[in-house]
């Protein structure tokens, strides 16, 4: 499992990305999907997930929809058009950042010319 420090900065991007793939998702579904896809290397804890989801809702990047599931209410989250744009931007930014990190961590050997 990766450290919280590493994961913290990417949570918003991860959530936006996953919501972009599905029509709508609820909190537990999101955390389970992240756990499964990353083979438990990234765990989206409730303490991190819900504050971010509520922040995204406040920023109008996601909208919520309440549905009855059995005898309880479930809240589904879906991206707004602004959220979709933000998801794309954040994904590109993260991929670029990963490339940059790779350049930093695994520098290519410098070719020296002999004159």
């Amino acid at each position: 499992m990766y450290s919280n420090e590493l994961v913290r900065g990417t949570l918003k991007t991860i959530i936006l990305q996953l919501l972009g793939e599905q029509n709508q998702m609820y909190g537990y579904e999101l955390s389970k999907l992240v756990k499964e896809r990353t083979q438990e290397k990234i765990v989206l804890t409730e303490g991190a997930l819900y504050p971010i989801l509520h922040k995204l809702e406040k920023d109008k990047l996601v909208v919520t929809n309440l549905e009855k599931v059995g005898n309880r209410t479930r809240k589904y989250y879906a991206l707004t058009s602004n959220g979709k744009t933000s998801a794309k931007e954040k994904k590109n930014e993260l991929l670029e950042f990963m490339e940059t990190l790779k350049m930093l961590m695994e520098p290519k050997p410098i070719m020296l010319c002999n004159y």
């Binding site: 409730e46 303490g47 819900y50 504050p51 509520h54």
Partner: protein, 198 residues
């Protein structure tokens, strides 16, 4: 996945009520999350009571309250402060009040009590408040605005503290602090207006 029965959901609701969440929207999320966690364990063959016990040991009242606190901090634009900051602020206030009363009664040590209170307010409360803000201020512009606010408030509080102790230069500090606070107010207002328009 099997769904929980009415009675079981009621039990979870009762336990969730112990956390006294004020955010109803978050309560819906947490209740559903807890139910899902229990249902998942029941699908593995656990009985309800064992699953409930395990889930609440993983996600207890304190953790649930912490989620609400974190949600508040992230979603509120208002003055955000952590429990630690509030306690330091309260200590400062108590010290200043006691110091002030002692001063009025001409009791020995009034100046020291008042001074410690003012210093706690400035270098404890105001500084931690600034750090709390920094955690949630995203851009360097927001951080700069918070810092200006801290500077103004600190100067104003120190000036007021010095004034009561009849120290020289206190009125300059009060004036400077007041001016900085006014600048801070004007800048934050103009930023808010711009954000509102965009």
């Amino acid at each position: 996945m099997q769904l929980l029965a009415d009675e079981q959901i009621k039990r979870i609701e009762e336990r969730l009520a112990e956390a006294s969440l004020s955010n109803n929207s978050l309560s819906i999320d947490i209740l559903d999350h807890l139910c899902c966690m229990i249902e998942e364990r029941m699908d593995l063959g656990w009985d309800y009571l064992r699953a409930e016990k395990e889930v609440f040991s993983e996600m207890g009242v304190l953790q649930i309250q912490a989620i609400e606190q974190e949600t508040k901090l992230l979603t509120q634009n208002k003055l955000v402060m952590k429990k630690r900051t509030k306690i330091i602020g309260l200590v400062a206030l108590v010290l200043m009040t006691i110091g002030f009363i002692m001063k009025q009664l001409h009791v020995m040590g009034a100046g020291v009590t008042w001074g410690v209170g003012v210093l706690t307010a400035v270098f404890g409360f105001a500084l931690f408040l600034l750090l709390d803000r920094f955690k949630y201020d995203k851009s360097s512009k927001e951080k700069a605005i918070s810092f200006v606010g801290f500077l103004g408030a600190s100067s104003f509080m120190l000036g007021t503290g010095f004034k009561l102790l009849r120290q020289p230069g206190s009125h300059y500090m009060i004036g400077f602090g007041g001016l900085i606070l006014l600048v801070h107010y004007l800048i934050s207002n103009s930023v808010k207006t711009k954000d509102g328009k965009s």
